[in-house]
């Protein structure tokens, strides 16, 4: 596995302690590391290996471990390999540092994760709500938030009987469920 790893990536990975990487498919590298080492990894990847493009930051909620997983997807236009850097942060207090100073696109993803999961990114330029401006409930992408539960609490169920259906029912028909 490591034979196919480009030299420059191997040298970058060596500098980060406790980093574990796995080649998922061709052009896809999965990297796990400690949260405090992530900014250093990003700096090195951007500066030495041409990882100029932050494709996305994804957040995954893991309620069993009381953790958030943050995944930084980076693409190098030179090496043409995607590095997905996975870190786990505790849900309490659910804070992490912004990487906006390294990658400008991070601002959008950090703001999105803040409003959907409640993770606060220190140093991010804008943590104001973007999509859910009129929402005061808990961050909705958390696994503890149930869409159905919210609907049951907020709205009343009503019998659906429009005129056209009454007409059908009068003739002995019905909606088949």
């Amino acid at each position: 596995m490591s034979q196919q790893l480009p030299e420059v990536l191997a040298s970058v990975f060596k500098k980060i302690p406790n980093l574990v990487f796995k080649e998922q498919t061709a052009r896809r590298l999965r990297v796990e590391l400690r949260p405090d080492a992530l900014p250093a990894l990003l700096e090195l990847l951007k500066g030495r290996a041409g990882y100029l493009h932050l494709s996305a930051i994804s957040c995954v909620d893991w309620p069993e471990n009381d953790e958030f997983e943050l995944v930084y997807h980076l693409w190098s236009y030179e090496i043409k390999t995607l590095v997905s850097a996975h870190i786990y942060i505790p849900k309490k207090p659910g804070r992490y540092i912004s990487v906006y100073d390294i990658y400008t696109p991070a601002a959008f993803f950090e703001r999105d994760i803040h409003e959907m999961f409640g993770v606060y990114f220190e140093g991010s330029p804008d943590m104001e709500p973007f999509i859910l401006t009129e929402w005061s409930g808990p961050p909705p992408m958390l696994k503890s938030f149930s869409s159905l539960g919210y609907v049951e609490e907020t709205f009343k169920w009503e019998q659906y009987s429009p005129d056209w259906l009454k007409e059908i029912e009068a003739n002995g028909g019905s909606i088949v469920e």
Binding site: S55, S58, H73, P105, I131, L132, L148
Partner: protein
């Protein structure tokens, strides 16, 4: 262009006012708002405000079976749905280790390129409309309709096809479909000079578009710009070439670029991409009849289909730029998490804000359309 005798009115700096641009956007992009601060007609502050098309796709997908989401994903982006299906399907295939039969890969590439032409025709019309050139808009939408007819013949639906499923495609192409496609491609190719006369060589458009909303190469890389917008800056970056999927490494096509990075350059790149897509489709028309075999790999009962544990990041060159899906499976029948990275997440928010700043109010719509900003993709 201002008249020669134009004298700007000198307002004191406190004469700033705020204008709510949208959410009923006068165009075809969808509901999106911009809070603009202006001095006269000069933009001194701008803030994008999304959320008007938020439908909670990512949350809904966690409550649906893997196969049910096939019906959900195309709805994320209205003008260009097939890349959504393709990217989702590929993320599922990567997690499940499914091999897509070759014939299905060719059919998928055909659908993606047809969709690219549709999207480009749509947005070229959109770029023309804010400067008053409505004929071009009507032309673009009419010519796009010919491709929607083809989609209807192929999939049964005009916009949301739900045709690309994990493991392949739903059906084989109907008899005579490739002939119909060739006919429409001939037609579009003959139409392009007319578009040149009406729009691309039109001095009104050129004067309004030149130098407006220009991005440099450094800015494009720094701001995460992708797709035709980055290629308009002179960078030949394309997921189809850099991170090839399906059969794109077997096809011959160029990656057209321009250097100016402004509204005009972005429109010209889209025009050249129409030609490249026609070129790709002609190759597919030629090769597809020789490729025999199944159109779908064997799938288990989709209602009791547990994908193995794992995660995958699939990328596609959609019509608007880099589209990616990050899917996580815990070994269950439903996705644990699906994250959608639409190209407009960058273009419609940070890039749009930065390009409009210092510009004039009449250029906001033009810049937004030239970036091909798609709000439903931002809101998800």
């Amino acid at each position: 262009m201002r008249p020669e005798n134009y004298q700007p009115v000198e307002h004191p700096s406190s004469e700033e006012y705020e204008l709510y641009f949208g959410p009923n956007h006068p165009g075809i992009e969808g509901n999106y708002a911009l809070k603009v601060r202006l001095t006269g007609d000069e933009i001194v502050g701008i803030k994008a405000d999304g959320g008007y098309l938020h439908r909670g796709f990512e949350k809904i997908m966690e409550d649906r079976l893997w196969i049910q989401n096939v019906a959900l994903v195309p709805r994320i982006c209205v003008p260009d749905p097939p890349p959504m299906e393709e990217t989702y399907a590929r993320a599922v295939e990567m997690i499940g280790g499914l091999e897509v039969p070759e014939r299905a890969q060719w059919i998928r590439a055909m659908i993606l390129e047809m969709s690219r032409i549709c999207g480009h025709l749509f947005i070229l019309g959109g770029t023309a409309a804010p400067i008053g050139q409505y004929s071009n808009m009507f032309w673009g939408i009419t010519d796009r309709d010919y491709f929607l007819d083809l989609f209807e013949a192929l999939t049964g639906a005009r916009v949301y096809h739900m045709f690309i499923t994990p493991g392949g495609v739903r059906r084989d192409i109907p008899d005579g479909f490739l002939d119909r496609l060739t006919h429409i491609l001939d037609y579009l190719e003959a139409r392009l000079p007319e578009y040149d006369d009406l729009f691309f060589n039109n001095p009104v458009f050129q004067k309004r578009a030149e130098g407006i909303g220009a991005i440099t190469q450094e800015q494009a890389l720094d701001w995460g710009v992708t797709g035709p917008n980055v290629r308009a800056c002179g960078l030949a970056l394309d997921v189809r070439r850099d991170d090839p999927y399906l059969i794109y490494d077997k096809l011959e096509f160029d990656i057209p670029t321009e250097t100016a990075g402004d509204v005009l350059a972005r429109s010209l790149v889209r025009r050249s991409e129409l030609i490249e897509s026609i070129k790709i489709l002609r190759q597919i028309v030629q090769r597809l009849p020789q490729i025999k075999g199944p159109i779908r790999c064997n799938l288990p009962n989709p209602l009791a289909w547990n994908l193995p544990k794992g995660d995958a990041y699939a990328r596609t060159e959609a019509q608007k730029g880099e589209l990616a899906f990050y899917a996580v499976s815990t070994g269950g029948a439903k996705p644990w998490r699906v994250h959608v990275r639409g190209p407009s997440s960058m273009h419609a928010v940070q890039v749009l804000e930065k390009l409009c700043l210092g510009g004039r109010i009449e250029d906001i719509a033009l810049i937004m359309f030239s970036l091909d900003a798609c709000p439903p993709e931002v809101d998800r």
